[in-house]
């Protein structure tokens, strides 16, 4: 079982924060197939958030095929994200290393690199959402 947290200053809608935390836990292997997610009432009692926020997050996880609701029992993890992504980490990291070297050669300092990454990342994920 995992415990959720909400950061109200992040600007990220609370339901997305919950979805993100489940995905993160799946990637890190903290949650595995068959594990139960906290019940809506537990989350609500612990975080003092609207139950619909939790329901919406769980619906999204179901939509992504990561979890499934079992009537009267709760919501359970149906797929793990750990292995497939860990295997891909190595290749992605070396690509990123090469890119970083290129960026430094082009004269970017650390702050510029991180700003460029952030803005590209945000633009790409915005497009993905829309």
């Amino acid at each position: 079982m995992i415990e959720f947290r909400i950061d109200t200053h992040s600007g990220v809608p609370p339901y997305r924060q919950l979805v993100h935390q489940v995905r993160q836990a799946l990637r890190l292997g903290l949650l595995r197939e068959g594990d139960q997610l906290p019940t809506v009432k537990d989350v609500v009692g612990q975080l003092a958030i609207n139950p619909n926020t939790v329901l919406k997050a769980y619906r999204e996880l179901e939509h992504e095929g990561l979890a499934a609701g079992r009537p009267g029992l709760g919501t359970f993890v149906t797929r793990s994200l750990a292995q497939e992504s860990v295997a891909a980490h190595k290749g992605l990291r070396s690509e990123l290393d090469r890119w970083l070297t290129k960026a430094r050669r082009a004269g970017l300092d650390d702050a510029s690199i991180s700003a460029l990454f952030e803005s590209t990342f945000r633009a790409a994920s915005d497009e993905g959402v829309a």
Binding site: I6, T8, G11, P13, P14, V40, K41, V44, G45, Q46, L47, A48, I49, N50, P51, N52, T53
Partner: protein, 297 residues
Amino acid sequence: MSAIVAEELGKRYGRRWALRNCTLEIPDGSVVGLVGANGAGKSTFLHLTVGLLEPTAGSLAVLGGRPGANAAQLAKVGFVAQDAPVYDWLSVADHLRLGSHMNPGWDTAMASERIDRLGLDLAQRAGKLSGGQRSQLALTLAIGKRPDLLVLDEPVASLDPLARRTFLADVMELVADQKPTIILSSHLLSDIERVCDHLIVMAEGRVQLAGPVEELLCGHKLLTGPRRDMRTMPSGQAVVRASHTDRQTTVLVRTAEPILDPAWVVADVGLEDLVLAYMAASTAPTPQQAPLAAVRS
């Protein structure tokens, strides 16, 4: 079904209108956050919904009936007034007895279980309880009657952060269990953001903005760009609030369409920015008036 339907609702005290032209609709099962400056008309609106005040103008239907019309109507509505009033000289047990005698649908088991879980001493006089305990007792009385509508007027204003969180968590558990409609007024926007799915912003006795939180957030954008005359804004973008420096313009617009003008850097709007913009817009003497409340059916 709608829990609350107000049409052109108004309340006047002498020559002063505390609430005017209030037209809105609140869907059943919503958790509504009511925000606005002191004196904006929040308490007046809440007192009208529970039947403590009579409207001067317009109409108001609460759960399909007239507020305070009869015993059946009263039984459906729970109310915790500002500062969580309790009877200081009565004990906690007396309050529970009072609740069970005065409410036909009183849930004895739930009320006692709550008091037990909160660790309140049944023999204690309410006047000796801490602020947090008093509001929990008042909340217990309000939800012990199993209301379909629970009205909370600044319920957490005087509570410490822990008591505040516990109080809100309890209200949210109630929502998860029984799905009542909840209206809660507060100045604490971070609390509103956590618990509410519906928002009403009031200023100077008028509703400035009303609707589902998510829809409102999606329907507004914060634009930053080179200084610009607001009269040149496209018709589909209603200016809520604009500020200018000698070179730059920052403007909050209400729009249903994507912003295509490449001169603007477009950002999403958070609940706090949105509320503050509408509260400020009502006092700004600009010709560009804020668009009035969106009414949702």
